[in-house]
Symmetry: C2
Subunit: 245 residues, 2 copies
């Protein structure tokens, strides 16, 4: 059944407008009587029948309401150093499928991509769309939030103060991720800091350790590309807390 993000939720009914309406009508060519699933980012899922298709909206009558156990119970965020377009998009799409709670794009010293102002905002809109599509595809009921592009000085305030920060770092040779995870708890958010293509600068790692209390960790002896490191770490954290595999 096709999945749609609800624009407005009423009593036993919901409406789809704008791009959700257009996708249903023009791309999928669904008709009144067809079944669809709606979700509203509260964790609920509404199995529904299309009642009426109008120029500006689609009205769906709710047949059943569920609270599927599909979301991760731990809240794991990726903080991704800005890297080339395709890599960010891949991480956002795959990170959403795996179960990340949100992603914060971070300006870093070695970021090759430099985006500011409205260009940065446009990019975030595009990334949010990728996350939303991936959330539907993976049957999630909560879209991960893609945050505004952020600098180091504003990073701490983006997430709750009890966040547990992890920073995979090539030059960390002794502390392995697995052992650090043993000392983390699933009740508090976890944020994984991942460098851009060239990795974090040493001063950035020191900053993360001092200001955020981030634990630097080794992922093992093989050098991973930024996007591989992001998704592998996310996978291992979610798996550790029983939210994957």
């Amino acid at each position: 059944m096709n999945r749609f993000k609800i624009t407005e939720l009423g009593n036993e009914v919901f409406w789809l407008r704008d791009s959700e309406r257009d996708h249903l009508v023009r791309v999928l060519r669904l008709k009144p009587g067809d079944l669809v699933v709606g979700f509203d980012n509260t964790g609920m899922e509404y199995t529904s029948v299309i009642q009426k298709i109008e120029d500006n909206s689609v009205t769906c009558r709710i047949l059943s309401t569920d609270h599927p156990d599909v979301e991760a119970h731990s809240s794991v965020y990726l903080v991704a150093g800005l890297s080339k377009g395709e890599k960010m998009e891949w991480v956002i799409q795959k990170g959403t499928e795996l179960g990340m709670e949100g992603l914060i794009p971070l300006r870093t010293k070695r970021s090759v991509m430099h985006i500011e102002g409205s260009k940065a905002q446009d990019r975030v809109v595009r990334w949010q769309k990728i996350a939303s599509e991936a959330a539907k595809q993976s049957h999630r009921v909560q879209e991960p939030k893609i945050y505004a592009v952020c600098d180091w000085r504003d990073l701490a305030e983006q997430l709750s103060p009890d966040t547990q920060w992890l920073i995979p770092y090539e030059e960390e040779l002794t502390q392995r991720l697995a052992s650090v995870l043993e000392r983390m708890v699933s009740e508090r958010p976890i944020a994984i800091l991942i460098g851009p293509e060239g990795g974090f600068d040493q001063t950035e790692v020191a900053l993360a350790q001092e200001k955020l209390g981030a634990k630097s960790v080794s992922l093992g002896p093989r050098i991973l590309r930024t996007e591989t490191a992001a998704l592998a770490t996310l996978t291992m954290v979610l798996a550790h807390f029983g939210d994957l595999g």
Copy 2:
């Protein structure tokens, strides 16, 4: 230091020919006196100095020989249902970085990509090249082997008879990967069967269970794309055996 696959190993010296020689000379424009690292897929690594550049070969004098502990100790293979070009390439590149031992491309019922004969051979050559490049990039000393495109009936004989087969399957609702891994041992090879875009057909899962003794496993409640499932499972298996994170 740039890394090269050794064409011929001599006594305190090695030679690079063909594409390795061309890459060193034309792309990287290295000169006699520059330092390079050579590897020969035996697990050894040779730090060396370029001695002589000729039209058909580069001669490198070995300064030191190492056996770095960079390869995974467990042997984990991916068996990937043929999927669209970009996905296969991504899985091969990322799987190599993570530490897979090899990849077997498998023709499946729902594979959209159909390749036979010389076209299939050419594709494997291309995939092997991607694996070789990724092995260098991640500082591995053993390139994963990309096998010839294979059918179900020939699959068992590709790997050792004591291989432990895993098959992530959407309709497996009770048996989680984590619990199955508890009963596997790192001394025997592990092969992860991953369906193409549309997933495995039910008869294929039954075949894998009967003929290979494959354990079907759930990766959790979220639906993963084929390439995400492949890399997430590989990550979790390697992490379980202490070979990642």
